[in-house]
Amino acid sequence: MSALFTEAFLTALILGAVTAGLPLMLAGLGEQISEKAGVLNIGLEGMMLIGAYGGFLVAYGSGSIWLGFLAGAVGGAAVAAVMAVLCVGLGLNQIVIGIALTLGAEGMTALQHHFQFAQSYPRLPAVPTLPIPGLSSLPVIGPALFDRPAIVYLAVAAVAVTSWVFRRTHLGLALQAAGDKPAALDAAGVGVVAIRSAAVLTAGALAGLGGAFMSEVGAGIFVPFMTNGAGFIGIVLAMLARGHPLWLLCGAVLFGACLSITTALQVAGVDIPTDVIQMLPFATVLLILILFGRRAALPPALGVHYVRGAR
C-alpha cells in the first residue's frame, strides 16, 4: 500500500481537490456577493451550466482558453441579467425565477449540445499551466498548488479581492447596506437597484466562470447536466460562510478534499462502500452546521424586494 501513496498520487489527489473545489468556490463566492446585497440567487446552477456551455463553445471554437473563460463569465452574467431585471428591478419572486432559470438553462444547454456536439463530442487539449517560480518545485504541493492554470490563481485572487472589497471599500459597505437595510442605502444616495443588480451580475459572472472552469479545465468537454448540483452546494457554502470569502475558500477545499479522499480510499482498495464514503462531504458540512450553525445567519433583507417610499 505504501507504494501507492507516491508523490505523484498525492499530488493528483490534492490537484483533484483543487479542481473539484474551484467551481464550487467561484459559484459560492458569487452567491455570497449576491446574498450580501440581499438577493437570494437560486439560479446559480443555471448560470454555471450556461457558463460551462458558453465557455466550452468559445474555447473550442476560438482555440483560446481565455476567450472561453470570458464567454463563460459573460454567459453566466447574461442569465443573471434576466434575474436582475425580473427580481431586482421588478421584484418578482426570487425563488420562482431562480428555479425557472436553472430549469431553462438545463434544457437549453442540453438541446444545444444535442444539435451541436452530440455526434462529435469535441474535447479540449490540456490547459497550459503557469508554474510559480520557487513554490512550484516544492514536493507534492508544488505541482498540485503552484503549477496550475493561471485561472486558478485568478480565482483565488478573486476571493482575496472580494474580501478586500467587503472589508475595505465603500462598495463593501454599500453591499452590506443593500442586504441589511436597503432603505438606508437609498437614503444615503446610493441606488439599491444598481448595487443589487451589480451584485447579481457579478454572481452570475463568477458562477459562469466556475462553470467554464468545470468544462474547460475540470472536464475538457461539455456534457449536458454536467454541473450536477454544484450550484446548490455553492449556495449552501455561501450561506455557511456568510460574509467571509476566506471561509468559502476553506469550505470549497473541504468539499474537494472529501471527494479526493473518497477516490484515495477507493484506489487504495479500502472496502468501504463507495456510497458511504460519498456521504463524507455532506456529513462533514452537517456536523459543522450542528456545531457552528448559529453563525449561519442571513442578511435581514435577503429575498425582500425594495421599493423606494413604499410602506
Partner: protein, 321 residues
C-alpha cells in the same frame, strides 16, 4: 404472430457512443432486416416510464424493448397490463412465456480479453478501472477485466475508482478520478460511463503516465474511433443486433419468452475493438485467447455484484497472490 412494429426505450440520448446508442442502432438494424417498424423513445431518464410504455402499447407496438435496468420493473407490469411482450435487462428470472424475455448483456468475455490486452501492453505495472457507478453490467466487466489482467500478469496492480453518486453525466468527475488513477501508476485505463466517459477520455488524452509515456483508454459498448485522438487502445464493443433480431424472430414465431438472450464472443455480439495502437503480434495473441474462450478452454463466470469487484481489486488480494 404478426409483428408490425417494435419500440425501444432508452434513458439517455442515442448519441453517446455507448449503451443508448448501441441499443437504438441495433434495434433499427434488426427492425430493418426483419421489415418491422422501429419506434425510438430516447432521453426518458430514470424516472417513471409507465406513461410512455402505455402510450407506445396503445399506438400498436408489438414488442417493447425496455433498454435500461431501471425499467425492468415497469416494463413487465405494463406488458402484462397491455398484453404485449416486453424485453428487459438484468432480470433473467423474470422470463415468462409470451410475455417477458431478458437480455442481460454482459460483456465480461470481452472485458476479460481487454484485461489481457491491457496487461500485455502495460509498462508501469498498474492498470486502472474507472466507473461512473456500479450497475451490474459495469461490475461484471470490471471483474472480468481485472481477472484478465491478472491472468496475464499476476503481479499487476489493478486500481479501481467510482466517480460519485448519480455521476453518469459528471464529466469533470470522470476526468478528476482518471487523473488520480494515472498518478497512481495506471498507464491503461478501462473506463465505463456515459457522459462521464468523455471526461475520462480527456484525462487520458491530456495526461502522462508515471513513466512519462502515453496513457491508453479502453472503452466499452461503443466504438469511439470517430472521435479518437490516438489514445483509444480498444473497446469492448457490444452488438445487440443479433439479440433483437432473435427476439423479433421469436415473437413472429410465437415463441417469445421461451428463452433469454445474451451476448458473447462466440457470435461476435461481443468483440474487442482493434485499433491501430495495438501491435499485430499482440492482437494475434488476443485472438488466440478469444478462441480459447469460445472453445470453452477458458471458463469465465460473470459476477454482477459490486462486492466481487471490490474483492478482486483490493490490494490485499494482490498481496495474497
Amino acid at each position: 404472430a404478426e409483428l408490425k412494429s417494435i419500440a425501444i426505450l432508452t434513458p439517455e440520448a442515442g448519441t453517446d457512443y455507448g449503451w443508448n446508442q448501441q441499443g437504438i442502432v441495433a434495434a433499427k438494424a434488426a427492425g430493418a432486416a426483419a421489415g418491422v417498424k422501429v419506434i425510438v423513445a430516447e432521453n426518458l431518464g430514470y424516472g417513471d416510464v409507465r406513461p410512455t410504455l402505455r402510450e407506445l402499447a396503445e399506438d400498436g407496438v408489438g414488442l417493447l424493448i425496455a433498454h435500461a435496468s431501471g425499467y425492468n420493473t415497469a416494463a413487465p407490469e405494463i406488458g402484462a397490463e397491455k398484453k404485449i411482450p416486453v424485453a428487459i435487462v438484468d432480470s433473467p428470472d423474470a422470463r415468462a412465456a409470451g410475455k417477458v424475455a431478458d437480455y442481460t448483456a454482459s460483456g465480461h468475455e470481452g472485458a476479460y480479453l481487454a484485461g489481457r490486452l491491457a496487461a500485455k501492453m502495460n509498462r508501469t505495472g498498474t492498470v486502472g478501472i474507472v466507473v461512473s457507478g456500479e450497475p451490474p453490467s459495469w461490475n461484471s466487466q470490471s471483474v472480468a477485466f481485472a481477472e484478465g489482467a491478472k491472468a496475464e500478469k499476476p503481479a499487476i496492480a489493478v486500481r479501481y475508482a467510482v466517480i460519485g453518486p448519480a455521476a453518469y453525466s459528471d464529466a469533470a468527475g470522470g476526468k478528476r478520478v482518471t487523473e488520480a488513477l494515472i498518478a497512481a501508476g495506471a498507464d491503461i485505463v478501462f473506463g465505463q460511463g456515459n457522459g462521464s466517459s468523455f471526461g475520462m477520455l480527456q484525462a487520458v488524452e491530456t495526461g502522462k503516465a508515471t513513466d512519462g509515456g502515453k496513457v491508453f483508454f479502453i472503452d466499452v459498448i461503443g466504438d469511439k474511433t470517430p472521435i479518437d485522438k490516438g489514445n483509444l487502445l480498444s473497446s469492448v464493443v457490444w452488438n445487440l443486433q443479433p439479440v433483437y433480431a432473435a427476439m423479433i424472430a421469436d415473437a413472429k414465431a410465437g415463441k417469445y419468452g421461451s428463452r433469454n438472450y445474451g451476448i458473447q464472443l462466440a457470435d461476435d455480439s461481443v468483440t474487442l475493438l482493434k485499433t491501430k495502437s495495438i501491435p499485430d503480434k499482440v492482437w494475434g495473441e488476443i485472438q488466440a485467447i478469444r478462441k480459447d474462450i469460445v472453445d470453452g478452454k477458458i471458463k469465465l463466470t460473470p459476477h454482477f455484484d459490486a462486492d466481487a469487484v471490490h474483492k478482486i481489486v483490493s490490494p490485499l488480494t494482490v498481496a495474497a497472490q
